[in-house]
């Protein structure tokens, strides 16, 4: 019975545009995936109903009457066996073929796709947009990451930070290609409304593409287990009409240009938020994943293994670039190395910023 209710409900649309089985279809290939899904679904349902009906009817009809019941000897039937071996084969090949066509579609990004870099890191997503020249003016690329401060203030509950994570912003009606990698462990970038998913792997690049015809907002989940806050590694895709998107991206690039002028502690402060440091380090003396970083400069630090070290610029720099080299006593060595992710000016900025914290 449990199969019959959903069977009837299968095609019923919901208010939010989704259906009983599938969420709303918001990318160009989503409908194709759903068509394959429903092809399998109704084939399955037909088989299930036939098999189970046969089973139940026979269980009732041939229920044992007496202990002396005799039964005919039927050892098989070649025609029947041939039918149920061969007939499903055709359907299976059809399923494979439909799935294969859809998959090719999902795997090959159109040549004119707009490229965005996605970086997975415990436990947030960073989106990097490329540099561009707008009206003859060179504008730098920029990054979107971390939880939005204003939003966090509004919610006022630090455990619900997932609602405030920065979205990846994309234009409507234009193919977007995500080039992804991870700074630490496996993650996976999943947008249910787009039927799109791909693992995000350290040490190699993976790709995912989609085109969202309509503006709107869609959930992003991490679907590869990545540790403590895997269930909170949540973001959104924000699809804007082309004109709005253009305005947004230009504004961001100009901001980046302006903040490119930032140096020292001010740059460090901005990086501290955008590079995910704030996700593991608090600045109020309390422990999060890593130790608090305020009022640390010049003090002594106990290291794993018993040594101590004075916290100076050199130590801070090393702690950021190769955190595994000296691990603070009582903490797991779970900080990702930033070697190669930050340039000199940025590391200096972070060091200056940490020095300035009281």
């Amino acid at each position: 019975m449990s199969m019959l209710l959903p069977l009837l409900a299968a095609g019923v649309a919901r208010a939010d545009g989704g259906q009983f089985w599938m969420p709303k279809a918001a990318s160009t290939y989503a409908q194709q995936v759903d068509d394959v899904f429903y092809f399998i679904y109704f084939t399955d349902a037909a088989f299930f109903v036939v098999l189970m009906a046969a089973m139940i009817i026979m269980a009732v009809k041939y229920k044992r009457r007496s202990e002396d019941d005799t039964t005919p000897v039927i050892k098989g039937n070649h025609t029947l066996e041939l039918v149920w071996s061969v007939f499903p084969t055709f359907l299976l090949v059809a399923m494979f073929w439909l799935g294969f066509r859809g998959w090719i579609n999902m795997s090959v990004p159109p040549a004119d796709s707009m490229e965005i870099r996605v970086i997975g890191q415990k436990w947030n997503w960073t989106y990097q947009y490329p540099a561009a020249s707008v009206n003859g003016q060179e504008l730098p690329g920029f990054e979107v990451a971390g939880a939005d401060e204003a939003c966090m203030q509004r919610i006022g509950d630090p455990t619900r930070d997932i609602e405030c994570n920065a979205p990846i912003v994309v234009p409507a009606g234009k193919p977007v290609k995500l080039v992804m990698n991870s700074r630490d462990v496996l993650h996976s970038f999943f947008i249910p409304d787009f039927r799109a998913k791909k693992d995000v792997v350290p040490g190699r690049y993976t790709q995912l593409w989609f085109e969202a015809p309509e503006p709107g907002e869609h959930n992003v989940f991490c679907t590869e287990y990545c540790g403590d806050r895997h269930g909170y590694m949540y973001s959104k895709v924000k699809v804007l009409p082309q004109a709005e998107f253009d305005a947004w991206i230009t504004e961001q690039r100009e901001k980046a240009k302006a903040s490119g002028a930032l140096t020292g502690a001010a740059l460090g402060e901005q990086l501290f938020a955008s590079k995910g440091c704030a996700g593991c380090h608090k600045l109020d003396g309390s422990r999060l994943v890593g130790p608090p970083l305020n009022a640390k400069f010049g003090t002594q630090e106990n290291l794993e293994g018993g040594a101590t070290v004075t916290i100076d610029e050199g130590y801070l720099r090393e702690s950021i670039l190769v955190p595994g080299a000296k691990v603070v006593a009582g903490y797991p060595p779970s900080m990702p190395p930033y070697q190669g992710q930050l340039n000199d000016a940025q590391v200096e900025g972070l060091v200056e910023y940490i020095k300035s914290l009281k």
């Binding site: 449990s2 199969m3 969420p23 995936v33 394959v36 899904f37 399998i40 679904y41 084939t43 399955d44 098999l51 189970m52 046969a54 089973m55 026979m58 041939y62 044992r64 019941d69 039964t71 000897v73 039927i74 050892k75 098989g76 039937n77 066996e81 149920w84 071996s85 299976l92 090949v93 399923m95 494979f96 799935g99 859809g102 998959w103 999902m106 455990t159 630490d184 462990v185 496996l186 996976s188 999943f190 249910p192 409304d193 039927r195 799109a196 693992d199 792997v201 350290p202 040490g203 190699r204 993976t206 989940f221 991490c222 287990y225 990545c226 403590d228 806050r229 895997h230 269930g231 190395p337």
Partner: protein, 544 residues
């Protein structure tokens, strides 16, 4: 063998049997009697099942509401890791082969024991030894890598317990290799006169195919786990990209074992079905050769489809395509089995007793498990469904539902033979209804949550998935309750159950020709098999 020992004549009242032939704890722990080893496995497996099940209930309790509020995220992650690791390595892999398989294989072949009785005992000791490592991690704070131990999360974790858990799984592998080896030789060499290959019960065929997989696939996981331990301790780069390794390589190795191992779990379940369905509908199995051959085909094809776990892992599009195509090939032998069992019911004399109800329940559950697998074998739909609750529901239907319903059916079917006691069938049937409803209520809603996009291994989830999760939690409590009831009335039967006759169900296979419970060396005299295990005509003729 004389006709006087058939059906019901002269049951176990005659005195000694394998249970009371020797006394004392040591006579159990160091026995080389396959029946006692099977019973010890059963007791151990059920104990671990209880632990794994309690973890499952804790997980469902956390997921009753969207907020992650009962356990911390770290504790939750340990809960699902331990649940998975215990259920897979300690429960499902040995669930049927090591328990019923051990007990029944020699009996069904009409022989006195497995080929290497001491090796059999060693397998059990290795199993217990390996499980101590997992118990150690459990009491010292658990592990949080997921039972899949994916790198580089597992290799970069500083937690010393990861090494202990890996070592445990590594050791358990040897137990399963040795059991497999033992069973293969037993089937080849120990068959009683007249037990030709085509007169072997299908349960034996299933155990045989399972053993082949165990012997071929387990070394691969052993080496993989060993490499991982090595990487963690010595720091050479195999899987961890920070050391120059490849994390996707680990997935290939891991699934090269862990896909076939699904068949280590379900093939024996299929074997149980072929016995219970025929006996309780008193019908010759429909398509004996097709069922036997499909077990072997599944075992073979099962080895070349591991990549279907990795469609979105970053493996090449070509590999994805090939693995998808090959995966569909495994659907055909599975479909043949389902159809053959159902066809067996035709014009049968079907008993509505507990073992039969669980068998029919198995067919329902396994049909859903198998059919939903098609969505995951299909490339385009798998991209969406991979690593969501749809997959969780699918593999619980196949592995957990399939294996458990078959195990419960088998336990009820062979309980009289194993213990010499009859249980209360009425309570059994009522409990079946409860467990069947509870089971489907637990896992069916997870299909919907998953296809709607809810990822697995989430400590909290978005409110839109709440309803499905609450249904599932409710179902899991019902299901848990029903399992306790089963345990209760089965244990009770040990003390106050009626003595079981030799052959309470009128079965034609050899294990029912000895007394219940069997004597120490299985049969009172020499066994000569003159008709097939499903030949109820011949059996009847001989009886009267």
């Amino acid at each position: 063998m004389s006709t006087s020992t058939l059906d019901g004549v002269g049951h176990g009242a005659s005195g000694t049997n394998y249970l009371n032939a020797k006394k004392g704890l040591m006579s159990w722990l160091f026995t080389i009697d396959h029946k006692r080893i099977g019973v010890m496995y059963l007791a151990t497996v059920l104990t671990f099942f209880l632990a794994g099940g309690l973890f499952a209930l804790a997980i469902r309790t956390e997921l009753a509401t969207p907020a992650g509020d009962i356990f911390s995220a770290a504790v939750y992650n340990k809960l699902f890791t331990l649940h998975g690791a215990i259920m897979v390595f300690l429960v499902l892999v040995p669930a049927i082969p090591a328990t019923l398989g051990n007990f029944l294989l020699p009996l069904q072949l009409g022989t006195i024991d497995v080929a290497f009785p001491k090796l059999n005992l060693l397998s059990f000791h290795i199993y217990v030894f390996g499980s101590l490592f997992l118990l150690y991690t459990l009491v010292t704070g658990g592990v949080d890598t997921g039972w899949t131990f994916y790198t580089p999360y597992s290799s970069s974790s500083a937690d010393g317990n990861v090494v202990a858990a890996l070592t445990g799984a590594f050791i358990l592998g040897f137990s399963s290799i040795l059991t497999g080896l033992n069973f293969i030789v037993t089937v080849h060499k120990m068959r009683a006169p007249g037990v030709t290959w085509l007169r072997m019960p299908l349960f034996v065929w299933a155990i045989y195919a399972t053993s082949v997989i165990q012997v071929l696939a387990t070394p691969v996981i052993a080496i993989t786990l060993f490499l991982l331990i090595f990487e963690k301790i010595v720091g050479i780069g195999i899987f961890d990209p920070a050391l120059g390794g490849d994390p996707v390589l680990f997935q290939h190795f891991f699934w090269f074992y862990s896909h076939p191992v699904v068949y280590v779990m379900v093939l024996p379940a299929f074997g149980v079905m072929s016995e219970t369905i025929t006996v309780h509908s008193r019908k010759h199995i429909f398509g004996y050769t097709a069922i036997a051959a499909s077990s072997v085909a599944i075992a073979a094809v099962g080895f070349i489809i591991w990549g279907h776990h990795m469609f979105v892992s970053g493996q090449s599009e070509l590999s994805g395509t090939v693995f998808s195509l090959l995966t569909f090939a495994v659907a055909i032998p599975t479909a043949i089995k389902l159809c053959s069992w159902i066809a067996t019911l035709y014009k049968g004399s079907i008993q509505w007793n507990t073992p039969m109800l669980y068998s029919l329940g198995f067919l329902w559950i396994f049909a859903i498990g198998g059919l939903t697998g098609l969505f995951l074998a299909t490339l385009a739909t798998d991209v969406h469904l991979h690593d969501t609750y749809f997959v969780v529901a699918h593999f619980h239907y196949v592995m957990m539902g399939g294996v458990l319903f078959a195990l419960v059916a088998g336990m009820h079917h062979w309980w009289p033979k194993i213990t010499g006691k009859m249980y209360n069938d009425t309570i059994g049937r009522v409990t079946f209804v409860l467990s069947f409803i509870g089971y489907n209520l637990t896992f069916f809603p997870q299909f919907v949550a998953g296809s709607q996009g809810m990822p697995r291994r989430y400590h909290q989830y978005l409110p839109e998935f709440e309803m499905w999760n609450q249904l599932s939690t409710l179902g899991s409590y019902l299901f848990g309750l029903s399992l306790f009831i089963i345990l209760g009335y089965l244990l009770q039967s040990l003390f106050s159950g009626k003595a079981a006759p030799r052959n309470p169900w009128g079965a034609a296979s050899l294990e029912w020709r000895t007394q219940s419970p069997p004597v120490e060396h299985n049969f009172e005299g020499d066994v000569v098999c003159t008709y097939g295990p499903y030949d109820y005509e011949a059996h009847r003729a001989l009886k009267s």
